[in-house]
Amino acid sequence: MTGGLLYHIGKFVGWHAEIFKRPENMKMYYKETIRQMYEIGIGSLMIIFVVSLFIGAVTAVQFTYQLQGTLIPAYYIGYIVRDMAIIELAVTFSSIILAGKVGSNIASEIGGMRQKEHIDAMEIMGVNTASFLVMPKIIAALFVIPILVSVAAIVSIGGGYIATIYGGAFTAEDFIQGLRSFFKPWTVCMMYIKAFVFAYILTSVACYQGYFVTGGSVELGHASTRAVVYGIISILIADYIIAVVLTS
């Protein structure tokens, strides 16, 4: 098992030399990158919005319950929702959702192209397929996912506000005071660092699983599942490492 893992890590790292080669035609790569930005960004906006709204709301409701009967000031709820959304929930939840939605989509798309000989056809034409099929997706993800994470953070805080105010637990003033208390700009930097790293991980892992798929539709299904599972595990490991490094 360790041998297999090391083999795939080595292959994955070595494969990057092919991915980041000079494009044959910048215009084609640009067009493909824009298409991918649309697919990843607009295609994921709704689910990110809905999930973030409820995560913010649930965080607020749960902490309201926890804080009842304590001496902690009411406005702390805004502070807690804000920091949890920015530092952890928006970026990690969004990336996990995207690993599921975008990751499986990418693995299926590239794997399907492999099975239908589209990749062979491009190779025969002289296209560097690793670069043409993967680089635009990674670049698109690096642009779009941090934007989605920003949306997720804002919507989460909005969800917390709605749940708190309309739940009748606190006043709007308390929540807003909390939002404006103890703010450290560094937490926003942390969010974006995580967003970039997670975007890279979820896209490259999914592309790898799709690109090297062999066999038929069952194997393609397995590759798609692996893209999601390995993507999520890698994101969680990276999350821990980044948290340790950036808070030490």
């Binding site: 044959e24 000989e117 025969i124 002289g126 560097n128």
Partner: protein
Amino acid sequence: MIRAEGIFKQFGDQEVLKGIDFTFEASKTNLIIGKSGAGKTVLLKILVGLFDSTKGHVWYGDRDLCSLNKAQLRELRMQVGMLFQGNALFDSMTVEENIRFPMDMFTRMTVGEKQKQVDYCLERVNMEGINAKFPSEISGGMQKRVGIARAIVLNPKYLFADEPNSGLDPKTAILIDALISDITDENKITTVINTHDMNSVMEIGENICLLHEGKLAWQGNMDQVIESDNDILQNFIFASPFLQKLKNRAFGTT
């Protein structure tokens, strides 16, 4: 001219090709024939560089495919067109975008020049007016023709076709054969077709290589097929009882 020299290919313990030596002649329609599992597709993929051979060399003129670096290989592939068994047309692109793709990727032609070349290629395969259709909106035979149009759009020196007749009715299969043969003659292309279609063998086989269990079992041309006394060839060509009866009637044998 393309020359396969001592080609061996092994997948794990299974030896698929066992020392193939064959010359695919320039400006001719060369056929690789044989039963399913004989190693035809593997040989074709080795010829175009999609598979590496375990041992042996593939020569394009005086260039050894196995010793080319990636840049040289890409340069060579610009001279190669290929028609795949499943057509390999990009589903998300229209017919026109499919044919234009190699030009978009590798040439600095103007929009007008590209359009002219797309229209010429579609006209050449008798498929005018379907530019805006998607591959899923046209029939299998039409997809084959579009695949041919895409393969010839950059005026290749070498054309490869992996079972171009598979899944087609006999009449359409004959038309596809004739089209490939005509394009080969007109443009002096070296064409290599992998097939087990008997019509192809008898109609367009100018240079034929019969594979059997990974070895070269016979070589010749369409005129020599009937006269040959090679058992493997005869068993392959006249495999069906119907063709066997026809042969017996024609040659007065029992």
